[in-house]
Symmetry: C2
Subunit: 629 residues, 2 copies
């Protein structure tokens, strides 16, 4: 554009303007590699040479955006969405009268408001080629925005479905679906998709089952109508395969969707997964950082309730106290639950038998997330039918606390390794039943890319232009020193199965659990963009950069080694390739090759040392832990 | 007194008064054990029954404290001491005009002002029985206040000595003193002694070489005159045995003395030792806590210079940022030293040969604490003689930075494990050449005794009256996870030799070093008082409560195991005895025996698990670290 402007406006000699523009492009982009500079040069040349005169029809000044009007009608939201969310999103928030916030004085915001945004920002969106599909659901697992989902459709649901669903749906594959007469369809919500391509890249079939097509083509094919039907009218049938495997877990409803994270974000698939696994019971304390922005950018709330009205409760706290904030949520909750137990114990003899039996059950299973929710579902109607039963008034008042909550503490590495670490350590030492998820991008992402203690030697960042001189802190190993903390280092691009198992084990562990999740990020500058982060993420583990493992203290108590490493011995020969695939490393090589090589060697040697230390731990004999118990 | 008052005053029925007093004593002291209650009962009885009428000579109202006047003359201090320190210590600070602070506007306080206080608070002080002494210097090592010192006295010094020195000094024992014609004397500065008895308890001879006698007896025997002569006029001959052994290290001058820590303090012997080893070069950042109070309670400064004018520079920062504060001192210092190097490099060709040679030497040895100081001693006079030599003006201006500093960061466990831990971790991760000393009392001592993450299961503290439920954090193991941090866990009562070696290795290690020092404290409530902390401290390691070890990353790089445990396998049968020797544990046993036993088992099991884990590490094969190097 700038080039075209100077060519047309002739305010200075165009040759000179071109020279200045190229000099500036070199200055701005030479650190990002020659290729980027060349692309800029080319743009400057093309901009000036490709001028075409277009005559504009004067009536265009009065065009009406019919699609937008249609959408306004079609995706009409709740009163909150219409009165607050939409005006705020349209940058008309300052025109709202205070009175519209009536009912929201306590600062809570309505859940699941992102579904009404339908931003339509994906220039290209995936198209499902059903004849190639093996129904593995891997495309769904990697989707950062939960816009592509698999559906199991029963006869009744199929009957009411749009034509597009009927035509394209496959027979559901697998012995579990035999005689169930169910159809399977992969469905993208075209207007929610950001076009990151991760799904198409992740598709494992030889002839791809997903190809990227222009948004218009997808809409013309009626995919948005299909999505509107399937996402809202077809049930999420997650009980057939269970949630403990990649395919099965993806049939569950994500309770985190359509948020504003970068297209291809490597953090959000972990959160989506967690909400599929335990979303009904989650309470989340979220540290400041990317996850607090895409997690709740007022008025958009991507966390939502399911049809039963259950979903994550979420709040954001400061960088420096989020772990404590989450611990406080948990302690407050459990304190109220101790009170419920006291009331039940005092009421056991006085309450009717059926109710007393449920009180007993609850006291026994109050720390069991699934069972306590089942008991709640039985107990609450009983108490409502017998409001004068002993304990009924208090317990009904506290009924939201009957089901065991799954307490989570989310944050990035800037929070977990640095600014919030003092508090994180305090929580880790507490022994309380909380789960911590560290979305590790190895850099302060949201603040613009500064080094954290998670960053590695040789990576460049803001204020660390010469490459970070020191090694990465081993947060997982540090947590292991406590001996009573469940620790997992995961990388869903290397093993989605290990990631799911780690989440389930962490949630079930009755103490502190810490999951450190490798999260590709735009700040990494992956060659080809975040759409290629699947392969690069896989390489991270393969080359030894990011080993994946779990440490389960319960094994130690049984006299078994508590460390379980997933995957083979790394292929260290791939290490440099991994580094050079990312601008955070490659650019230093361009600007200061010798210094860079020194730091990269440091980087690799440190990874190798960590690997050896992890193996030393994984091979140690823990049998005397049993003898001494 | 109270009992006597009620007996005499008869304002209420004495039987009733006695009953109330005993009830109150029970309420106040029953948690501290029956023995304490009984002692209070006895005091109440004796107070009333032992009344003796004493007639007071009316002239006593006009007595003059002659001793005090003599002392004022004898211990006349520097202008700072006379004009500021003494009035402030006498609680007359508010009468000082602002003008007396002229020259101290930057907040620095004069070093070594405690030597003029001569508080005379030791009711009983040690008396040396020379015929029993084996000249081991162990009494000196344990002294918290550096009031008892060993002297090597040459002929000239002996000649000028007071009679008491001449009469009592022994021939210096050991092959190193053969033909040196030197005398040896253990000397206490009676008026500086607090009477804690640690020295007498530590004396290993069968017939004790130190016995406690009333202060008056010690003064009458002229010991203070002996001390005044030996402490100030006799040189500290620390080069004969070297400082790397217990006996030899104690011939060095302590540059930390006569402070106001509790009598028998278990922290201060470590600081005294450090100043004996490297005091000339130390810069100390001190976290808030006991060590910041006894380290610098204005106007008293126990840190001092030696005869050459060198001594520790000391400053206190906040609880929450002291590690960073110390790192900042180091970085600032080294930044100036980089500048010196740049100036020298630019001046190499232009400077006279002799000076250029010293510049070269300095550039080579600038990070060698001893050599860089030697080069300074040669270079500065040369530059002063040739002020126009290249670089001379700048380097003379910066001459205080020529010698490599020994940067230390001091604090207690409240700082290191809790409040300052986020920053401590940041410094540990920095890889910079700083030394961290954690004076671990396992409780917030200075603030009145609250649990820290260093406290153990079952210990009681403020707000933890029911015993701490969770285990102690393993700070040493956490630091080891970095792989490039020198770590030592020490206990001078278990092995003074290991403590000295750890200090020397930490100081020499060119990166972060962390020393965690077991420090008996009044908050422990050791049976018999802090005077008995020597045996109890020894038991701490013997029973497995506090294993001592070093972790030296340099060994790992040589393919050797980096962990070296000192001492034998613990005798776990002594564990309960250790706990029951201290009120912090014993009192819970009294108030809630079952709960206490449960927590004590937790405490012991945790210590055993840590021991096994330490051994797993100490037995692991590190030979592949060499192959891969």
């Amino acid at each position: 554009m700038q080039s075209a402007f100077f060519k047309l406006a002739k305010i200075i000699d165009f040759e000179k303007a071109q020279e200045f523009m190229k000099k500036q492009a070199y200055k701005a982009y030479s650190k990002k590699g020659e290729q980027i500079v060349e692309m800029n040069y080319k743009a400057i040349d093309v901009g000036a040479n490709g001028l075409v005169k277009v005559d504009v029809d004067p009536s265009w000044a009065h065009l009406v955006d019919e699609v937008k009007v249609q959408q306004e009608v079609k995706y009409k939201g709740t009163p909150f969405v219409e009165a607050i969310a939409k005006p705020v999103n349209a940058a008309r928030g300052d025109s709202l009268p205070v009175s519209v916030f009536n009912g929201y004085e306590d600062g809570t915001f309505e859940h699941g408001t992102t579904e009404y945004e339908k931003r339509g920002i994906g220039v290209m969106v995936p198209k499902w080629i059903e004849e190639n599909c093996i129904q593995c659901n891997q495309c769904v697992f990697v989707c950062p925005h939960a816009v592509i989902r698999p559906f199991l459709i029963n006869e009744e649901e199929l009957e009411a479905a749009p034509e597009g669903v009927k035509v394209h749906a496959l027979e559901a594959k697998g012995k579990e679906f035999k005689d169930k007469n169910m159809k399977f369809k992969i469905q993208v919500s075209s207007l929610d998709c950001t076009g990151c391509e991760l799904c198409a890249e992740a598709c494992p079939t030889k002839e791809k089952s997903l190809v990227m097509v222009p948004l218009g083509e997808s809409l013309d094919a009626g995919e948005q109508e299909n999505a509107d039907y399937l996402f809202k009218k077809v049930t999420y049938k997650d009980d057939i395969l269970g949630k403990s495997n990649v395919k099965g877990s993806q049939f569950a409803q994500p309770l985190f969707e359509f948020h504003a994270a970068c297209p291809g974000c490597g953090e959000t698939p972990y959160i989506t997964l967690a909400t599929r696994l335990f979303g009904e019971s989650m309470m989340i304390a979220n540290a400041t950082g990317c996850s607090s922005i895409y997690g709740g950018s007022a008025p958009s709330t991507p966390y939502r309730k399911n049809d039963k009205g259950f979903g994550p409760a979420w709040a954001n706290s400061l960088f420096e106290d989020n772990a404590e904030f989450g611990l406080g949520m948990h302690v407050a909750n459990e304190t109220i639950r101790h009170r419920i137990q006291a009331v039940m114990e005092a009421s056991l003899e006085k309450a009717p038998n059926a109710i007393a039996a449920l009180y007993k059950d609850w006291i026994e299973f109050r720390d069991d997330r699934v069972k306590s929710a089942q008991i709640r579902d039985l107990l609450v109607p009983q108490l409502q039918a017998h409001p004068s039963a002993a304990g009924a008034d208090i317990i009904l008042n506290l009924k939201q606390y009957l089901a065991k909550k799954s307490q989570w503490i989310f944050g990035g590495d800037g929070w977990a390794y640095d600014i919030g670490y003092g508090g994180l350590d305090h929580v880790i030492a507490s022994g309380e039943d909380v789960n911590i998820l560290v979305l590790d991008t190895e850099v302060y992402s949201n603040t613009g890319g500064q080094s954290s203690k998670s960053s590695r030697a040789g990576s460049i960042a803001q204020f660390t232009a010469a490459g970070k001189p020191s090694q990465k802190k081993d947060l997982g190993y540090i947590a292991m020193t406590y001996g009573n903390v469940f620790v997992a280092q995961i990388n869903s691009n290397a093993s989605a199965a290990q990631a799911i198992k780690a989440f389930e084990a962490a949630e079930a562990y009755p103490g502190v659990s810490l999951i450190i999740a490798y999260s590709p990020c735009i700040a990494h500058g992956i060659k080809g963009g975040l759409g290629k982060s699947g392969n690069q993420g896989e390489l991270a583990t393969k080359c030894g950069y990011w080993p994946i493992y779990t440490y389960d203290p319960r094994l130690e108590k049984e006299g078994k080694n508590p460390v379980k490493i997933t995957g083979k011995e790394p292929d260290w020969s791939l290490y440099d390739e991994f580094l050079m695939n990312e601008v955070r490393y490659a650019s230093l090589k361009k600007s200061n090759p010798e210094h860079a090589q020194e730091l990269f060697n440091h980087n690799k040697k440190d990874a190798q040392r960590r690997w050896r230390q992890l193996n030393r731990l994984a091979q140690a004999d823990f049998s005397n832990e049993l003898e001494e118990a």
